[in-house]
Amino acid sequence: MSDILEVKNLSMRFDKKTVFSDLNFNLKKGSTTALLGPNGTGKTTLISILMKMLAPTTGSFKFADGVRLGYVPQFRNIDAEYPLSIEAFVGLNAPTFKKREVKEAIKNQLQETNLYEIRHTRMGEASGGQKQRAYLAQALLDHPNVIILDEATASLDPMAKDELMKLIRHLNEKHNITVLFVTHDVALAQKYMQNYLYLINGHIEQGEMAQFKEAYE
């Protein structure tokens, strides 16, 4: 399989604090990878660099030609009074005046993420798992072939976690979407991801998820 992302000697410093230095890794097309590591090791910083929201101090990275990135950030400002329906929320990532194709695309993503039946529920009243699937559906509107999820399961109960992970596996298997899944939940990653990237003490290790336990515990 060909590489879809190649990272070379990537380093990041804030003032005098080094977050990580000389990271080298690559992601294969169609793979699923857990980005593991304790809190505060720079996982979100690394993602922000890959999303071009932050510039690295040194080093470079390159996505393969034709990559369309989807990104589901860790935190959202959706409180209990948030007014928009799930459908309207997902549709924020589309023109305000929607043509039939756009409406159809939104419908497809709502069905794909199992939200179509409850599309008129307000986001503020949706459960944690439903919200996460709505964030995912919103990102899927761009038809990404690589998707990055930042701690998408962190605040979910076990049932909702499994539902979301099954959905992600489905997207990977059926639509061949490459997945980079940021988490500190090793058990969950072992259940659903093929590969791992382990970010610790400023450097990174790469391998197959099945071997993770032996290597680091």
Partner: protein
């Protein structure tokens, strides 16, 4: 009622103002800018007083001050940890300046009342044209950035993740907000302009589930307020602003309690 020129002018002007404030207000509420809208109206008061002192139309002084104010306060509120207290400080400073300008301009207290509480019934033909033109400009500004503005206002983090130019959207919106405050103040006065910018959209939040329906409800409630307010003011000879305030508050409270009751069922 419509036999009178001044009532026709008042209805026309307030209709456009209600549409503008109702629309812009949806974003004010979504972006948590209610407090900023309130501060801008106080800055607008100082601007109007400044214009009186210079001897030009209050609307232009208001526009000048609210435009400068919205950009600086907006930047401050985006970047400062002490958001509320810094906005309070600015608000205090400008209210003080407004009082100063009024005092040194020697304007009578009637004038001050008009600036603070509105004087829609005193709007002449030229004033109506100015207000309508400014309203249309604000609506066009909002329309020209609607896709990014919708995404950024209702899902800022998602918008950033999708590469929406949120900084640019924010600046354009702040300009539109400043203009809305200035024109809205012409009818309800600078002290109460935030009523039109916050109450109809806050009410619409409980009813609409899409941005389009929220804007429609917000404009509808704003129109009911100004139309009914003008009518009641005309037949009772009491201040129009009083009626608008009461109508909007009643609509809001009824909707709010209905929402509470529905949710507890």
């Amino acid at each position: 009622m419509f036999a009178f020129d001044f009532m026709r002018n008042a209805f026309l002007a307030s209709t456009f103002i209600a549409i503008t404030c109702g629309t812009v207000g949806v974003y004010v509420v979504a972006r948590n800018f209610s407090f900023l809208a309130h501060t801008l109206s106080e800055i607008g008061f100082a601007g109007a007083a400044f214009a009186v002192w210079l001897g030009i139309g209050p609307l232009w002084g208001m526009l000048l001050f609210t435009l400068l104010g919205s950009i600086s306060v907006g930047e401050l509120s985006l970047h400062s940890d002490q958001k509320e207290s810094s906005i309070s400080a600015i608000s205090a400073l400008f209210t003080g300046l407004g009082v100063l300008f009024l005092a040194i301009s020697g304007a009578n207290s009637n004038y001050a009342t008009n600036i603070l509480f509105g004087s829609i019934v005193g709007v002449d033909k030229q004033g109506v044209i100015q207000l309508v033109v400014l309203s249309v400009i604000v609506l066009l500004m909002i329309f020209s950035i609607q896709r990014s503005l919708n995404f950024d206002s209702f899902d800022h983090i998602g918008a950033v993740a999708h590469g929406v130019k949120t900084g640019l959207v924010s600046v354009i919106f702040l300009i539109a907000l400043a203009m809305s405050v200035s024109i809205g103040a012409q009818i309800v006065g600078s002290l109460l302009v935030f009523i039109l910018l916050t109450l109809p959209p806050a009410t619409a939040n409980y009813i609409g589930k899409t941005i389009g329906s929220m804007i429609a409800w917000s404009v509808f409630f704003a129109l009911i307020g100004v139309w009914l307010g003008l009518y009641l003011g005309f037949i009772t000879n009491l201040p129009v602003t009083f009626f608008i305030a009461v109508i909007e508050v009643v609509i809001y409270l009824v909707t709010y309690f209905t929402h509470l009751i529905k949710r507890s069922l």
